[in-house]
């Protein structure tokens, strides 16, 4: 009977799984695309570094903190006008991806900034002393040195996005987390709830495993 229930569930699960992957992939892509430069900018404009700029640093820092302090559910609803503007709709996984991306960019930017901070200041200074341009220092020193940290950051961001995407159901985004809430939480359907949770656990474990592997691969220290 349990098996029958699970088999009935397969089309639903399949759809939800793909929705989750879809939302996470889009927002992760945006997070890396925008968060990486933002994180670098937060770092290099800091006091004592080669592009020190207190104004840029404070303004960016303030915006990042502001977005990060808004609870995701509120951000999801609050950004509906923007979502409408970008995607032309306010429901569905694509629409949910907009808010997910907005939340993920500052999150990932801070992680990038933190991994850059781990680089020994002297290594950056040595590059300055050599006469390298800021762009060269970013490309040939900062990014390679922070690569393992950034890969870890991508892993953490991906996993957080899987978690956040559960709330996408509010705007009809779907996804596995949403399935768990709809069936498990609202309808007391333990079979669905447990199945989805097991799937989520496996998904997170796989992401972490792959992330760790890649991080080790790129770590030459």
């Amino acid at each position: 009977m349990l098996l029958d229930a699970l088999i009935d569930l397969i089309p639903e699960l399949n759809k939800a799984f793909l929705e989750t992957i879809y939302m996470v992939a889009i927002s992760l892509f945006v997070a890396v695309l925008a968060g990486l430069p933002l994180g670098i900018l937060l770092f290099v404009t800091d006091c004592g570094l080669f592009l020190e700029n207190t104004v840029v640093k404070s303004v960016l820092g303030f915006i990042v903190n502001m977005i990060r302090s808004i609870p995701f559910v509120i951000l999801l609803v609050g950004l509906l006008p923007l979502t409408k503007l970008i995607t032309g709709t306010t429901i569905g996984p694509t629409a949910a991806s907009v808010s997910l991306s907005v939340a993920a960019v500052p999150f990932f930017a801070r992680i990038v900034e933190t991994s850059l901070r781990e680089i020994e200041k002297g290594v950056i200074e040595a590059a300055v002393a050599v006469g390298a341009t800021p762009w060269m220092i970013i490309k040939d020193v900062l990014l390679p040195e922070a690569r393992p940290g950034i890969v870890h950051g991508i892993t953490i961001t991906t996993i957080s996005l899987v978690g956040y995407s559960a709330m996408a159901g509010i705007v009809g985004g779907g996804g596995i987390g949403d399935l768990a809430i709809r069936f498990g939480y609202y309808r007391y359907d333990n079979t669905v709830m447990i199945t989805t949770i097991v799937i989520l656990i496996c998904l997170v474990q796989i992401i972490q495993f792959v992330g760790d592997r890649i991080a080790r691969l790129v770590d030459k220290r």
């Binding site: 002393a129 390679p144 220290r221």
Partner: protein, 337 residues
């Protein structure tokens, strides 16, 4: 030529101001190895970092080969830095790049074409003796090898000046020797001016031509290494020299002595003359050598001997007078009881 004119560096924190470098003026000639010695916190590192503007002086000028670095814009400063190499105590290599790429980075900064970079890096690695480590990562190298990579990187763009920030302080004594020998070779063969800071007088003794002693942000003594070693004026200078030329006699020797104990210093030419044997023949005194050493500083001998003179007090007095006239470097440590 490096001209440092009235350079002051003040570090301001919210609560107080700390003077790192206090109105230092200094001229370093082309092709010399110039040492700056001092304890940590003396301001030597700040001064060195002012030379390539890693630290911008609060006031004063840094003029290298006629160009005042403090007046340059960012782009001009980068160009100037290509010609000022720098090596560090902790090497500061990019750990995610191979030895080859670490050195190539400096050439890329100078926008050299790819083929030239390839050729030049190989040349540099050959010079520092690391051709076989081309594709190794820094973590696979020993401290001495890492410093050699640092040197290759610093020399990539044929600089006129090489700044060494405690370059041997993290290395063991034998590796220190080999790195110092390499620096000396670079100085002699390529004519690069070397400015090095250190807290070890041994380093100064081994390779420097001139030395400045720093304390509290100021240069308190400056001269050729030989002059400083033979005729130090400041207490701190003497302390540093004592760390290399130590002449301490065991207590029991001092207590049991019957004659006068003198320390005689032979400088330059006098070290090659038979002054002691002349003295022993001319006066009725006996000499007993308790301690002695001949150091070669800048390839000139400096002999220091501690002797006990016994005999009639009057004869000893005359003998002492004779030696101090001929050597100009006699010090009575203890008189006869």
């Amino acid at each position: 030529m490096i001209e440092i004119k009235n350079v002051t560096k003040i570090y301001s924190t919210k609560k107080k101001q700390v003077v790192g470098v206090d109105n230092v003026s200094l001229t370093i000639q082309d092709g010399e190895i110039f040492g700056i010695i001092g304890y940590s916190g003396a301001g030597k590192s700040s001064l060195l970092r002012c030379l390539n503007l890693l630290e911008r002086p609060t006031s004063g000028q840094v003029i290298i080969d006629g160009v005042d670095l403090t007046t340059l814009n960012n782009k001009q400063l980068r160009q100037a830095r290509l010609k000022i190499g720098m090596i560090f105590q902790h090497f500061y290599l990019v750990s995610s790049k191979t030895v080859f790429d670490n050195v190539a980075f400096a050439l890329k900064a100078a926008k050299k074409p790819k083929e030239e970079i390839e050729k030049r890096v190989n040349e540099l690695l050959e010079m520092v003796g690391l051709s076989d480590k081309r594709d190794a990562y820094p973590s696979q190298l020993s401290g001495g090898q890492k410093q050699r990579v640092g040197i290759a990187r610093a020399l990539a763009n044929d600089p006129t000046v090489l700044l060494c920030d405690e370059a041997t302080s993290a290395l063991d004594p034998s590796t220190t020797k080999s790195i110092l020998a390499l620096l000396k070779k670079i100085n002699r063969e390529l004519g690069i001016t070397i400015v090095l800071i250190t807290h070890e007088m041994e380093v100064v003794k081994d390779i420097c031509d001139r030395v400045a002693v720093m304390q509290n942000g100021k240069i308190i003594e400056l001269g050729t290494v030989y002059d400083i070693f033979t005729n130090p004026k400041e207490k701190l200078t003497k302390t540093f020299i004592n760390s290399v030329l130590r002449f301490e006699l065991p207590d029991h020797l001092l207590q049991k002595r019957t004659g006068t104990i003198v320390k005689i210093q032979f400088k330059g030419k006098t070290a090659e003359e038979a002054i002691v044997s002349d003295m022993l023949q001319s006066f009725k005194v006996k000499g007993n050598i308790l301690h002695g050493k001949i150091e070669y500083i800048q390839e000139m001998p400096l002999g220091i001997f501690v002797m006990e003179l016994t005999g009639e007090p009057e004869e000893i007095k005359r003998a002492i007078h004779y030696i101090s006239q001929r050597t100009n470097g006699l010090e009575v440590i203890a008189h006869a009881a």
